[in-house]
């Protein structure tokens, strides 16, 4: 719709000016350093993203001791991986099994494990996902093309506090002998939120 498109375009320029004005005021007041803002933006555009979580999942798939620690205390286990995997506190890792599928939402705002998955996609922050995930999770999964057996238990985790949830998906069959790096490539962002499944080996 052209009308919507035009409105969107004018909102962008209006917002560019409005946000620049706010940044200038806060900078002149001495509250913020624009160079720090540049660094935050760069970190989220280049360093912090779902590849961080994919490495955690792949390691859990090949290292039973790490998996055990990850499920017991997600924050401590991820932190033990070192400098490249900084994580905020209160990470809970929930494991998918043949009988049980986990899915994560924040109905009240858009809480998401930023440090390990990066910033959430627009759909995660949208009203359709926030409203339906807790009432019709199978319908939401269908929107993503995912169908699970009717007797699979669906556990939805509504992130209503500062705890954060990461889904540990099931390791796909046919991946025996694959390296941690190869396995990490099968782990999509959506399968760590619970709206997708890992890719099959050889799929692209």
């Amino acid at each position: 719709m052209a009308h919507d498109h035009d409105e969107h375009g004018s909102e962008l320029s209006e917002m560019q000016l409005r946000v620049r004005a706010l940044e200038t005021v806060l900078t002149e007041k001495g509250y913020i350093d624009p160079a720090a803002l540049d660094a935050v933006v760069e970190a989220y555009e280049t360093k912090i993203g779902p590849h961080n979580g994919a490495r955690v999942v792949a390691k859990a798939w090949i290292d039973p001791d790490f998996k055990h620690r990850l499920l017991a205390d997600g924050t401590a286990a991820v932190r033990s991986l070192g400098h490249d995997n900084r994580v905020g506190d209160h990470l809970n890792v929930v494991e998918n099994t043949p009988r049980r599928h986990n899915m994560v939402v924040c109905t009240l705002c858009s809480c998401y494990p930023w440090e390990i998955l990066g910033l959430p996609p627009v759909w995660y922050k949208s009203a359709p996902y926030r409203s339906r995930a807790v009432k019709d999770p199978r319908g939401v999964l269908a929107d993503f093309g995912v169908t699970l057996p009717a007797d699979t238990e669906i556990l939805v985790w509504d992130s209503t506090a500062e705890t954060r949830y990461l889904v540990l998906p099931m390791r796909p069959s046919g991946t025996e002998g694959m390296s941690e790096d190869e396995l990490a490539k099968l782990v999509s962002r959506d399968c760590m939120i619970g709206t997708g499944l890992p890719k099959a080996p050889g799929a692209h």
Binding site: E11, Q16, Y31, A39, K47, I48, H90, T107, A127
Partner: protein, 219 residues
């Protein structure tokens, strides 16, 4: 408050549509908003629940009608003015007209480069937890006019304590004053889908929320 932000279980918003190859930010200003929010939070200008409460108080049509980062920007302006950190005339002219207040600290580019990770919300307590794993609890039927993190769709319903997260800063209190952390025990409480949505609901679905002790009664 019972606002439109409390969306769990509402109908009519349509399908979930994922954007292929979605960029991290859709316009440069979105990144500036995110980074400013991080920097002002680090400085102690306000806390995360004050940000949420400012969004919740936007007019409902505005909340639903603007993009995620525009909602953040509107809430940030409201907090900047509401907390006396700058005045509306300064934001309108785009320049500071008066000296700033003194804040706790300033986010450095070095810390920002690792994404300025969140701090801890856990607090030590001598008070024992009122509930243990497996306890049946009823979410209280409360409707505060102020900020709360107990969603409407669980109020009045009975669930089971499945995780004990520890004692955490209480959002309902700290949204109103920076130094009013009032730490409370925090639990994951799991509800059967049919308890929440009635006998026609999918029997295979269970939903948990993270609930602070003041939200819960024994059932």
């Amino acid at each position: 408050m019972d606002g439109v932000h409390d969306m769990g279980g509402m109908d009519g918003f349509g399908k979930v549509v994922a954007e292929p190859n979605e960029p991290v930010f859709h316009a440069p200003w979105e990144g500036r908003v995110l980074a400013m929010q991080r920097a002002m939070g680090y400085a102690g200008a306000w806390n995360t629940d004050m940000s949420r409460f400012a969004q919740e108080r936007l007019p409902p049509a505005v909340y639903l009608g603007v993009s995620y980062y525009k909602r953040w920007a509107l809430a940030m302006e409201a907090n900047v003015v509401g907390r006396g950190l700058a005045s509306a005339d300064e934001i309108a002219t785009g320049h500071a007209l008066r000296p700033g207040k003194t804040l706790k600290r300033k986010l450095s580019p070095e810390l920002a480069a690792v994404g300025a990770p969140r701090g801890s919300f856990a607090r030590a307590t001598n008070r024992p937890a009122r509930f243990k794993l497996g306890d049946r609890v009823r979410a209280r039927n409360i409707h505060p006019q102020t900020h709360t993190r107990l969603p409407r769709y669980v109020r009045g319903h009975v669930g089971e304590v499945v995780l004990i997260h520890g004692c955490h800063v209480f959002p309902d209190a700290v949204a109103l004053a920076l130094d009013n952390e009032d730490p409370q025990w925090l639990y994951a409480v799991r509800f059967a889908g049919r308890e929440l949505w009635g006998p026609d609901a999918d029997p295979s679905v269970k939903v948990s929320v993270d609930a602070f002790e003041p939200y819960l009664d024994p059932a």
